[in-house]
Symmetry: C2
Subunit: 159 residues, 2 copies
Amino acid sequence: MAKSLGKAGRRREKNAEEALRLGPLADFIGFHLRLAQEASFQAFARRVRGYQMRPGRFAVLALIGENPGISQTALGRAAGRDKSTLTPALNDLVRRALVKRRRVASDRRSYALSLTVKGKRLLDELTLHARAHDRVLDEIVGLRHKAGFIRTLRRLAMV
Amino acid sequence: MAKSLGKAGRRREKNAEEALRLGPLADFIGFHLRLAQEASFQAFARRVRGYQMRPGRFAVLALIGENPGISQTALGRAAGRDKSTLTPALNDLVRRALVKRRRVASDRRSYALSLTVKGKRLLDELTLHARAHDRVLDEIVGLRHKAGFIRTLRRLAMV
DNA sequence: GACTGATTGTTGGTATTCAAACTATCCTAG
DNA sequence: CTAGGATAGTTTGAATACCAACAATCAGTC
């Protein structure tokens, strides 16, 4: 069934036969954003399979590593996740002894998050994988356009 | 607490005080892709609140509308979703009389999906909202760069 | 025509997400 | 110092997602 394409035969798509009509979807930035994000997400997850650490968790770890003492709410804002989403994620990271939750004397409602030594080590290791992953994406975007591309994504993230 | 910023005070961020260090994350395309996708997703969901139709469902409806007779597997590939994810989504759309599932004589394993008249009407209505939503994103990306931007996203989606 | 392997859609299990409601704590007015 | 509203984090519930396993069906091969 993939032999007599006839149409769009020159386009080497992912699975060689997705010659589907997209209609208005073809022009929607949001639609393509989602496909790209999902693909990148999956590729990263495959790469660090075995670490029990998907992109979201990695981002949390990295943000804590860069901002020791950060609160859960601030972390949620930076990672683009609701604070209620972070509760179970942090519970897990704390259970795995990667993150420390310390009560803050000046504001006893909030926690100050930081990495344990083990957390730092794991973060370093994962960062290597993340860099390798992103180098593939760099290749696709093109180094000449990367900075502008990321700037555009950041503007989109502020909608 | 947002008075004596002192650092990065000139950057007008979304909430006026996300002056966080991103570290290596700042250069990761995947990280920014996720933030942008999530923001766009939320904005669209807000816009069509009341239709009981988030971006994923809208994409499914639009893809069926453009490709009547499509199978669930092909639809899943086009929408970037696992086929098992589509089963409950389609059940819902069929229950709401927006989508028809027709058995195919030549291959009795698969279904041929198509929109009902009601489904077509709803799709048209939602497409108007989607266009309005995407016009905002166009503004951000810049019409001069839109085509290239989408091409890049499509390449990223093939990773 | 029967056997083997691939494919279609469903089911079950687990993970992740948001939003809303809740508790505890903080802060400001008076 | 007390009352009010704001804020930090948790809990709960509904949606959405993947993957793995499964039944039904198809498509070759012998």
